[in-house]
């Protein structure tokens, strides 16, 4: 009975935090990316997907889009933070002729993080357990993130690496024997214990 009550209380607290923590986590991710800011909305989508898979309490529902797992909730949260002047969004051209969005914290954004951490010390603790993974993900290759997250998406459904890998490669129109595909598979596997 005591175990049930504790479990129930923990669940309730976690649920309450989950609803609150989206924006704080996003801001911390952008802070972790350093002075150059967090480059790329696609990268942001995939990084949060992996962190969520690992257990970060993020209220972001993911679906499969043609470029891999995508969360409209996450996209909206970014827009909210930008409209609250807590983030700056910069648009630049890529070498391939496309457009890339990057995010940097504003001064009010940095103050907002400090304020949240002062008011709720447990928030900082909740993110710190994911901080190392976040830093690793931010530095990872975009293809590992894109195909890797698609493999993981299928793995969550089928619980079979071969099926997940083949589905993901077919979905992305990529050769499953290529070095980059195998690299993405190993990348995805590194998140499953």
């Amino acid at each position: 009975m005591m175990k049930l009550t504790i479990a129930l209380l923990t669940d309730r607290l976690l649920l309450a935090w989950r609803i609150r923590m989206n924006k704080y986590f996003l801001m911390k991710l952008i802070e972790a990316s350093g002075n150059d800011g967090f480059r790329g909305r696609k990268r942001l989508q995939k990084v949060v997907f992996f962190l969520k898979f690992e257990g970060l309490a993020v209220n972001a529902e993911y679906g499969l889009h043609r470029f891999g797992p995508y969360s409209h909730d996450l996209s909206q949260a970014c827009a909210d933070l930008k409209s609250q002047d807590l983030l700056n969004e910069e648009i630049s051209s890529t070498t391939m002729g496309g457009i890339e969005y990057s995010y940097l914290l504003t001064e009010p954004g940095k103050e907002a993080i400090a304020h949240s951490e002062a008011a709720f010390p447990s928030i900082q603790k909740a993110f710190s357990s994911s901080e190392k993974t976040a830093e690793k993900l931010i530095k990872s290759g975009l293809w590992d993130l894109e195909l890797g997250s698609t493999i993981l998406f299928y793995y969550q459904k089928h619980k079979d690496w071969e099926v997940a890998f083949n589905n993901a490669c077919e979905f992305k129109g990529k050769n499953s024997n290529s070095a980059s595909s195998i690299s993405a598979l190993n990348f995805a596997k590194s998140f499953v214990k």
Binding site: L8, S75, Q76
Partner: protein, 452 residues
């Protein structure tokens, strides 16, 4: 046999082609007929008494629109696309009819109460070789049930993108039916748009080596704009109506209370069908056991709970059945934009509840989140490389370029750029302490929280 005709308030007649008798057989299946007993709009009839329409009528409406769309594409596409369109007919029509077959009581709103995922159950029902619907589909060709499930789930690698878009996208047959149907039956006349124009102008566009997408020509832009605003108005006036949402959170609070009692070892009486579905993992529940839980089961269960020995469960169930809802309170602004914390105010509300005889604040101060995506007409994914039909609507300009629709509609673009609302929260408390809670919001502190 001639065409089979069904009278429908939106389309006048929904006709099933004489060569598609298999669709009549599918409609006659018990799994599909069950949808008659599920309200399309959950508990919106508590707000709009006319909103009693059911999921079966909606499913047949989607079937009708899909048949129109397929007919149009069949007669307009050329080359290799023609064979693809022809080949997709059975799976598209079946998916249109069956996309909601897995819905539980009160549609979407009840899903968190029992952990139901209607998409998961739609696939289970169609895949089950013992289900009537599976047997009817398999008679057409053996893989049809699988093809339909793939369309409903939408993540199979080989699934053509345009097919998926017709079933589920920002502008799909599902939305095109329910917006107009819900508008008609609620009486809230906001859900009007030129659906015929949208269906008769859609095109397939080959995206180099990336697949084929569903797009519209520039001449359909205004019809798309009208649809976008109709969708927005329906959300503000019907789907997010404060009274409806109040009853939705109340229903969820009832089932949350019952679950709490179970977890604490004081389970309330449960009727067998509910107990089986609720207290077991989905993998351990058969399709027939799932289908046995309908709205009448849920209402019957709550009727039993009006005599519960737990006073909170008894009170909440009675309120719901007697349509004695809670009062909506707009909360004060948050002090912390990142955590959206209002715990200090919530704690004062809990004190007020206690002083007025409501011991259990979590059951009597109910929170509802209105997600930001529903609070503005259209928010496409801004980065072009991340856009697809699930987060944007596309038009093909006269010079063959495919653009996200707001790029060619300055008015729509201005609305997108004008205001980007954040998620909103509403709270619901018993009417008897509404004034007290409003005082807390205004003054910060209320000495005497006893409502006179």
């Amino acid at each position: 046999m001639g065409d089979k005709l069904f009278r429908d308030p939106l389309y006048n007649y929904v006709n099933i082609d004489r060569n598609d008798k298999w669709l009549i057989d599918a409609i006659d299946c018990p799994e599909v007929q069950r949808l008659r007993r599920i309200h399309q709009l959950g508990v919106s009839h508590f707000t709009y008494p006319g909103a009693e329409h059911n999921r079966l009528a909606h499913s047949m409406g989607v079937l009708y629109l899909m048949s129109k769309a397929h007919f149009h594409l069949q007669n307009t596409v050329k080359g290799s696309q023609k064979a693809q369109v022809e080949h997709s007919k059975h799976s598209l029509l079946a998916a249109a009819l069956l996309h909601d077959v897995g819905h539980g009581p009160f549609s979407h709103l009840f899903e968190p109460c029992m952990g139901i995922n209607h998409e998961y159950w739609s696939v289970r029902i169609i895949s089950d070789p013992n289900s009537c619907i599976h047997r009817k589909l398999a008679k057409i060709y053996s893989n049809l049930p699988t093809d339909v499930c793939d369309l409903i789930e939408g993540d199979k690698p080989s699934l053509p993108r345009w097919e998926k878009s017709l079933i589920s996208s920002q502008l799909d047959m599902d939305r095109m039916d329910y917006l107009r149907r819900d508008s008609l039956f609620s009486g809230a006349g906001y859900g009007h748009f030129d659906w015929s124009r949208l269906i008769t102008t859609m095109e397939l566009h080959e995206n180099d080596n990336e697949g084929i997408d569903l797009v519209w020509p520039e001449k359909a832009s205004m019809a798309i704009e009208e649809y976008i605003f109709a969708r927005y108005y329906m959300y503000q006036n019907v789907y997010l109506h404060k009274t409806t949402r109040g009853f939705e959170v109340l229903l969820q609070a009832i089932w949350k209370r019952a679950k709490t009692l179970i977890d604490e070892g004081k389970p309330p009486e449960l009727i067998p069908t509910i107990e089986k579905l609720w207290l077991n993992e989905p993998e351990d529940i058969s399709v027939s056991e799932y289908l046995a839980v309908e709205e009448h089961s849920v209402l019957s269960q709550m009727q039993d709970w009006t005599n519960s020995t737990d006073s909170v469960l008894k009170d909440l169930a009675t309120r719901f059945l007697n349509r004695d809802g809670f009062a909506m309170i707009d909360p004060p602004p948050v002090s912390d934009p990142l955590t959206e914390d209002r715990s200090e105010w919530e704690s004062k509300v809990a004190d007020a509840l206690k002083k007025n005889g409501f011991e259990n604040a979590s059951c009597y101060c109910l929170k509802d989140e209105l997600k930001a995506k529903y609070l503005s007409p259209y928010r496409p994914e801004p980065e072009k490389g991340l856009q697809d039909t699930t987060n944007a609507i596309f038009i093909k300009s006269d010079d063959g370029q495919v653009l996200e629709v707001s790029e060619s509609l300055p008015r729509l673009k201005a609305v997108i750029e004008m205001g980007k609302p954040s998620s909103k929260f509403r709270y619901y408390v018993p009417k008897s302490i509404r004034k007290t809670v409003q005082s807390i919001k205004k003054n910060g502190l209320v000495e005497d929280m006893t409502e006179k």
